[in-house]
Every structure is written in C-alpha cells, then in structure tokens.
C-alpha cells in the first residue's frame, strides 16, 4: 500500500457513521458488488478527480471545492478509496449504499411483516445440520450459539478458505442455509426469516457437500439432546434405518425437523429422504412467480412450498451469493418454525400452524402441500398475501 492510500484510508476512518470504510470493507464487499451506490469523493489532484469521474456511472454534483458526488457500482467505490489522488470516499446521507437487501424469498413469505411487528424469533434455537457455518460472517456471527462438528472441516479442500474452528464451513452451503433462516437484521447484507434466532452449526457434511448416515444421525441426535427447537436437513439421499431412528428420536424430543424435498425434478413421487419421513416437514421450491422450481422434487410427502430459485443469502468468507435448490426452500420454513416456537409452540403445534396458515398458490398438492409458507399469517399478523 502506498503512503498516499494510507492517508486516504486514515482520513476515511476518522469520519463518522457515513463513511464506507468505517463500516468495514466487509460490508462493502459483501452485498451485490454491482449495486449502484451514491458516494461523495474528495480528491487532491486532477488524477484523483479523473479516477472518480472514470468510475462514475453518473455525476450527481461537482462542488467548487475538491469533491464530487457520484453514482458508482459498490465495488468501484471500494476500489476508488485506494486510488492515488483520492482523499476520501464517503457514503452519501441516506446510506442506501450499505442498506440491507430484502431477499425476494424473505419478502415472499412475509417475514418482513413479522419483523415489523417485533417478531424476530428471539429465544428459538435452530440447528443447521449441514456443512458448518462461516463463524466470522458479520451477518451471522452475533446469532451463533454452541456448535459441534461430526466431520472434519478440511482446509485442504475448502472452498471457503482455512477452517478457523472445527464447525467452520468448508463448502458454503451451510452458511447460505443459515442466512436464510436467521441472518441478522442490520444495515448490511441480507436479513433472514428469524433474525433473532440462535443458529447452531452442526457440521455433518464435508467440503464436497456429502455426509454419511451415521454422522448425520449423530448430528441430529446431538441437536435434539441440546434442546434445539428446529433442525434444518438440507440434504437428501436414499432411505436409511439409522437416520430414520435419529429423526424419530429428535421428533419425540420436541424438535421440528425441516428438510429439502430434493432436486430431482421435474419428477413425480420422488421426494428424497429424510424429507419423505412422516416426522419431517418436506419443503419443495418455488420461483419468484410462484411457479414450482423446475428442479424441485414432488410427491405426496410435500408439506409446504417455499422460495428456492435464485435465493440471495450469506456465503462463506463473509460474502453473499445466489443459490437455487430445495436446500434454499427448507430454511424459509425452518425460520418460520423458529418464529412460532419462540412463542411457545411445540414442534407439533408449530407444524400444524404452518400448515393451516400456508398460502394456496395454485399448485397441485404434490407440488405445494398445504401451500407456500406464510410467516406473518402463522404469527397472526395481516399479510395480505403480497
């Protein structure tokens, strides 16, 4: 780093609230880098001014002193701060730049209405039985509770950088699932269905996204023994007697089990295990137009539908990414279950409540089950089904 950029960094850090860098480069790097943000750029040379103009999508204002207000892709704004001749890059007033994104799925299940009414799921414990969770993610970190690994986090094959702790995410999948269920309601990134829930990383899947029946069963057993309200099972395979035992063990101890229906679609009567077990809520995936996601498995076991195509959520290495899958649908339901259980519902009561308040989106019963999960309606808030 050049002395000059050192200076510009310090200058930025000295400013309060509105500074891009004061809020952390993570926040900037995190949300969609192509999002346009409005920033004020101070420069000390024509070189700095040109750098700002070159980066700008639109020049909003040119001051008589050495500063500009421009609209610029978020990524470019970050880079601009380190350019020679640039004194500072500061977010402009409204903070749109770092505003939190409301992912379409969270909006579609009316979780934001629950949030507006003060329901965050605080008090609920959700075990993400998966590939682990990025333990240093700013949109998750404060919601993380105890954690446990039943398979090694493997830095050598990690797609997420080195493993800091055994239950760190070396694949990315678990972090994405966790964010849908319970990303924090703050000024950056995304928000989850239950932004106040406690998320527990139970690592049972390896860096390639696979796990043995035994490891998965041990993870489910552990989550049940620790008194979790909800577990997410965003994986699928064939029937396993051991896994079935673990599922029943957890269910009988009051755990709401929510699983991905599977990605074998288009197909009929093809729901994967463990979603296909009676004790498990099988969730199929929908697109933003309420159609069934083409990849979603369907069948009589499908209990609820939830958004699963093009879902933006947290990703390992403190980032964000868009994934599609029934793995993305299930945590919408898990977060909804957590919201109810935070109010004292048992697993069985929560399940019935989610069924009876689901929104009919006009798909067949093998495709939508009781319908699309509706968080606001489940909690008794008017949702208007929008």
């Amino acid at each position: 780093m050049s002395p000059e950029s050192d200076v510009s960094r310090r200058t930025v850090l000295k400013t309060t609230g509105g500074s891009l860098l004061a809020l952390g480069t993570t926040g900037l790097a995190s949300a969609d880098p192509d999002d346009l943000v409005r920033v004020n750029v101070g420069f000390k040379s024509d070189r700095g001014r040109r750098a700002a103009l070159d980066a700008a999508d639109e020049v909003v204002r040119q001051f008589n002193f050495d500063a500009l207000t421009i609209r610029v892709p978020r990524q470019a704004a970050t880079a601009l701060a380190d350019r020679p001749g640039v004194r500072y890059v500061e977010t402009n007033g409204q903070m749109q730049a770092l505003a939190q994104t409301l992912p379409w799925g969270i909006d579609r299940v009316d979780a934001e209405i629950a949030h507006a009414n003060g329901d965050t799921g605080a008090g609920a414990d959700i075990a993400i039985v998966d590939t682990g969770i990025d333990t240093s993610h700013p949109d998750l970190q404060d919601n993380l509770g105890w954690a446990k690994a039943f398979v090694l986090c493997d830095s050598s094959c990690s797609q997420c950088g080195p493993c800091e702790v055994p239950w760190d995410d070396d694949n990315g999948h678990g972090t994405h699932v966790a964010g849908i269920a319970g990303a924090i309601d703050n000024t950056e990134g995304v928000v989850g269905v239950g932004p106040g829930v406690t998320l527990h990383a139970v690592k049972v899947l390896d860096c390639q996204g696979r796990g043995s029946y035994s490891d998965i069963s041990a993870g489910i057993e552990y989550a049940a023994d620790r008194g979790c309200d909800v577990v997410t099972l965003c994986f699928g395979g064939s029937h396993s007697l051991t896994l079935y035992d673990a599922v029943r063990y957890a269910y009988n101890r009051g755990v709401l089990l929510v699983a991905a229906a599977g990605n074998d679609g288009p197909c009929t009567d093809c729901v994967a295990y463990p979603a296909a077990y009676d004790e498990v809520v099988a969730v199929c995936a929908t697109s933003s137009d309420d159609s069934l996601s083409s990849f979603s498995s369907t069948g009589p076991e499908v209990e609820l539908a939830a958004p699963g195509s093009g879902i933006y959520s947290t990703m390992c290495t403190q980032g964000y990414d868009t994934y599609s899958g029934t793995s993305m649908a299930a945590p919408h339901v898990a977060g909804a279950g957590g919201q109810l259980m935070a109010h004292g519902y048992t697993n069985v009561e929560a399940r019935h409540r989610l069924q009876s308040t689901a929104e009919d989106i006009g798909l067949s019963s093998n495709e939508q089950g009781y319908g699309l999960v509706d968080v606001a309606a489940a909690l008794g808030h008017y949702s208007g089904d929008n």
């Binding site: 996204g209 696979r210 965003c234 994986f235 395979g237 991905a260 990605n263 463990p274 899958g325 793995s327």
Partner: protein, 110 residues
C-alpha cells in the same frame, strides 16, 4: 449433445477404482448444472442386479451447482468399490445434472 463420456475400471487387491471422464467434444462451452452435492454416480451391476452404488450410505446437499466445461476440455470423477466379491460385473457411470446424464459403462472382472 456434445458430451462424450467413458469410464475405466482398475481392479486392485481389495478394491476396484473407477475413473469416469466427461469430455466436451463440441465447439462451445457446456454448462454442467449439478443437481446436488452428488455430481456423478457409479453403479455396479451383476447381470441386471445392482450390487453396489457409490452414493449409497450418503446424503448430499440439495443446492444446484454449475460448472462450465470449455470446448475440448474434460472433467474426471473418481470412484472406488471396496472389498468386491469375485465375479464379472458392469459399472455404469452417469452425471447427476439437469442436462444429459452422459452415461458410460464398461465390464470388468474381479
């Protein structure tokens, strides 16, 4: 379809190792959209009876993953059958994608 596939079986002392290769023989890149954490699977048949499947005993993440296979490039997937009983078998390998399964098979003896 511009994917060409092949599978080899190498019989060792107490295992058979498989190597399944999918090659893009077309002139354009091909997107492989995997359905889950299971990208490719192997099944061993004794006549018409399936006696082993690589994915058996495991569960897989249910998120789609896309990899682009440039024109002329190939992608190899390994597999291994431990402690096989003596006999003559066929291994069938296929992709688990939303596109073509690119099935390949070969016979081998233990």
């Amino acid at each position: 379809m511009t994917l060409q596939s092949s599978v080899t079986a190498t019989v060792g002392a107490d295992r058979v190792e498989f190597e399944y290769t999918v090659e893009n023989v077309g002139n354009d890149p091909e997107d492989l959209q995997f359905r889950s954490g299971l990208k490719a699977d192997f099944a061993v048949l004794d006549g018409d009876v399936e006696v082993w499947r690589a994915s058996y005993g495991r569960m897989f993440t249910q998120a789609l993953q896309t990899e682009t296979l440039p024109a002329g490039d190939s992608r190899t997937f390994p597999g291994a059958w431990e402690d096989p009983d003596p006999g003559t078998y066929t291994v069938v390998a296929e992709l688990n994608t939303t596109g073509p399964d690119a099935e390949a098979r070969t016979d081998f003896s233990v």
